[in-house]
């Protein structure tokens, strides 16, 4: 369960996130959409305890983030947008490090590493991370999170750099995990993914949540039943007219 109320992040005079409320019940896949610079990553960083909010309260798994940061971090998993990993380690050394840091050094985790490696086609764990491509690092990062079976998973643009097969496997895995009670919070620019996967979608623009609900609720909100999420998104973020204008002028 994820709960944030009045969440705000201010950088000098600029509100990156402006008094937003989020509630994601257990087992739900929550899609967080928005144009570049809308405040998605800042929100995820605050929810995962890597950035202190200027204002507001956060509860993860029923625990107050301010008081139980380490305990929460132990029970959640985070896949950041950029897979920044220790470049001097080899793939398997990184997984060992993560296992030790999360106290999950057991046979079940090691078995899950093998399963996930097979699923994502990861056969390069002996390689140095500095020699891996973005996609390879992204898969390693995903394995390091999924191998622990966290209760809440935050994913910031998780399919960037993944091949089609791996992206499909990830999507199916996330659905499977949510069915078994894992809460998933994900941001994506691929609206098709959000439309097909997410139970609830929130759209953030200029730091404020401008729409939130199921696909049906969003359609009702804009008064159009036949529109795709892409059309709704562009309409809500007032970008449709811009696009037409830009294309015509080119």
């Amino acid at each position: 369960m994820i709960k944030a109320s009045n969440l705000t992040k201010k950088f000098k005079d600029f509100f990156a996130v402006d008094h937003i409320d989020i509630f994601v019940p257990k087992g739900q896949i929550f899609g967080f959409l928005g144009p570049n610079g809308a405040g998605k990553t800042t929100t995820i960083r605050m929810l995962t305890g890597t950035l202190k909010p200027t204002e507001g309260d956060i509860e993860i798994l029923g625990l107050d983030l301010k008081k139980n940061e380490i305990e929460i971090k132990r029970r959640i998993g985070v896949v950041p947008e950029e897979p920044r990993l220790y470049s001097h380690l080899k793939g398997f050394e990184y997984l060992e490090f993560v296992m030790d840091i999360y106290n999950t050094n057991n046979k079940a985790t090691r078995d899950r590493i093998d399963e996930l490696c097979n699923a994502f086609g990861v056969d390069y764990l002996e390689k140095l991370i500095s020699d891996m491509s973005h996609g390879m690092k992204q898969k390693l990062m995903l394995i390091s999170v999924l191998m622990r079976k966290p209760e809440v998973i935050f994913l910031d643009e998780p399919t960037v750099g993944l091949d089609a097969k791996s992206a499909k496997i990830l999507k199916e895995l996330l659905k499977k995990y949510s069915e078994s009670g894992t809460t998933i919070f994900l941001t994506t620019h691929i609206l098709e993914i959000a439309e097909k996967m997410c139970d609830v979608i929130a759209i953030i623009n200029r730091g404020k949540i401008i729409a939130q609900g199921t696909m049906e609720e969003l359609k009702k909100l804009t008064g159009s039943k036949d529109k795709s999420l892409e059309d709704l998104f562009l309409e809500l973020t007032a970008q449709e007219e811009d696009i037409k204008h830009i294309v015509e002028s080119l």
């Binding site: 995962t48 971090k73 950041p80 897979p83 920044r84 398997f92 060992e96 490090f97």
Partner: protein, 497 residues
């Protein structure tokens, strides 16, 4: 040719990426690498010229044959340095990397691309080239050899070395491991530095001692020593000229066919995921791996050791050796810590998601460099104490060294965390201002704390000198303790905001 110069103007060396700041973007490759290499290698070359000229003059007055042997030996060693360094570097730059990937999409001849990559490798060996050019120039001056002929020999040898190394690099191309190449370069840089020191140290050696060296150095004058062909005799000069022409033709053929294949790696698939079973052990293990895999860390560890070994070989006064190594090591401890901290903070976005306090992740960055260097110094100090006569005051250097290393480590960590780098470039952790500040604080306090001990160790020093020396040393120690405490408090604020 136009393509080649365009590449030089806009190309960026993929081997050592620059820290992407707006300031750096203003500098082209030429300004960054070529001018910097020239500026840094020329003054050293000129110094080498004067030192070697003095030595050659002394030797020449005794035996011209030994002078030539000494020259040929130096040329052989320097040529070896050049070939190893150049081939390693070129093998890597000729394999597929991000820059080559981009350049291959452009309408540029493969020969031009190859020549450009090899030019980059040549620049990396500028120190060696500068040494060998100025050494031969000094030899020409002393022996009154025709300067035109001298310059011809130098350029033939230069061409021979580059074309030979280039052909070898092309033939072996795509088999270089970046990490190994970088480590080779560290060892060669150190070798070049100690070569430079050895030339200087030869000034104090009695020239008659060289008579005994003649037999050892004799191999360098044999016709099979292709590393000095241009200088051995007229016949071997012809060998090197003909070889140069042959190698250039070969290079021209090979370079146009170069595929720029990806780096070949032998990846063992057998590993067992075990882990250590403890958070603390995992953090220390990760940082210890970093000390092995970052070649800059190795350099900072090896330089003071090499310096110590070298000085103990040429200097009979072990006290002076220890007192010189301690300030240098103190300075480098800050950089070693900075390397470990940079490796951590350049992944901050991920690191902060771990269920561990950031301060726990940072603590080993101070402990590891301090402990490694302290243990090395302990061995050096104890060996010196028991090798020479036992001077009780030397035992005092042990706790002082520990205090100094801790201070330096804290400073290194603080400076990185105060201005965390966005990218992981261990060659450019600190700016010029920060480097000078660290150098001033670490070396200043280290010299202040250690050097007065020399006067205290002299039995014939008068009481006034002893009192002043004691006061200076104590003040420097107290200063380093104060700096450590203040900086640690500031560091804690950064770690726990």
């Amino acid at each position: 040719m136009k393509e080649f110069f365009t590449l030089l103007k806009y190309g960026v060396s993929s081997f050592q990426p620059q820290r992407l700041t707006s300031k750096n973007k203003k500098y082209s490759f030429l300004k960054n690498q070529l001018i910097l290499s020239l500026i840094s290698s020329l003054p050293l070359g000129i110094l080498v010229f004067f030192f070697s000229k003095d030595l050659f003059t002394k030797l020449y007055s005794i035996d011209p044959q030994i002078t030539k042997l000494m020259l040929l030996f130096w040329m052989t060693i320097l040529s070896l340095f050049f070939i190893i360094g150049f081939v390693g570097m070129a093998m890597y730059s000729l394999s597929r990397n991000d820059e080559i990937e981009l350049l291959l999409t452009m309408p540029i001849k493969r020969r031009t691309l190859t020549a450009y990559q090899l030019f980059v490798s040549t620049i990396s060996q500028m120190f060696v080239l500068s040494f060998y050019f100025f050494i031969y120039l000094s030899y020409t001056f002393v022996t009154k050899e025709n300067i035109i002929l001298g310059l011809f020999k130098v350029f033939v040898h230069f061409g021979f070395l580059i074309s030979l190394s280039s052909v070898v690099a092309i033939l072996l191309g795509g088999k270089a491991n970046k990490g190994i190449v970088r480590k080779i370069n560290v060892f060669l840089s150190l070798a070049a530095i100690f070569f430079y020191f050895s030339i200087i140290s030869f000034q104090n050696i009695n020239v008659e001692q060289f008579q005994g060296l003649a037999n050892i150095l004799n191999f360098s004058s044999k016709p099979y020593n292709f590393l000095a062909w241009s200088f051995i005799s007229a016949k071997t000069l012809i060998f090197s000229t003909v070889s140069l022409i042959f190698l250039l033709v070969l290079f021209s053929i090979l370079s146009n066919k170069l595929a720029f294949e990806p780096v070949e790696r032998r990846v063992k698939k057998e590993y067992k995921i075990k882990g250590s079973g403890s958070q603390i052990k995992a953090i220390y293990r990760k940082d210890f791996i970093a000390t092995r895999r970052y070649e800059q860390f190795l350099y900072f560890i090896l330089y003071p050791i090499g310096f110590g070994v070298f000085f103990s070989l040429i200097n009979e006064n072990s006290l002076l050796t220890i007192f010189t190594i301690i300030p240098i090591t103190t300075f480098y401890v800050a950089f070693e810590t900075a390397i470990l901290v940079t490796a951590e903070v350049s992944n901050l976005e991920t690191t902060l998601t771990y269920p561990i306090k950031f301060s726990n992740l940072m603590f080993p960055k101070i402990v590891i460099p301090t402990t490694i260097n302290f243990l090395i110094m302990l061995v050096v100090i104890l060996v010196s104490i028991f090798r020479a006569e036992i001077i009780p005051i030397l035992f005092l250097t042990i706790p002082i060294t520990f205090i100094l290393f801790i201070m330096s480590s804290i400073i290194g960590a603080y400076f990185v965390l105060k201005n965390p780098p966005k990218t992981e470039n261990m060659s450019k952790i600190f700016g010029v201002g920060q480097t000078f500040a660290i150098e001033g604080i670490t070396m200043g306090t280290a010299f202040g704390a250690i050097f007065p001990l020399i006067f205290l160790s002299k039995p014939d020093a008068n009481i006034k000198v002893k009192i002043i020396s004691t006061l200076i040393s104590i003040t420097a120690i107290l200063l380093s303790l104060t700096i450590s405490t203040i900086t640690f408090k500031k560091l804690k604020k950064l770690l726990i905001p």
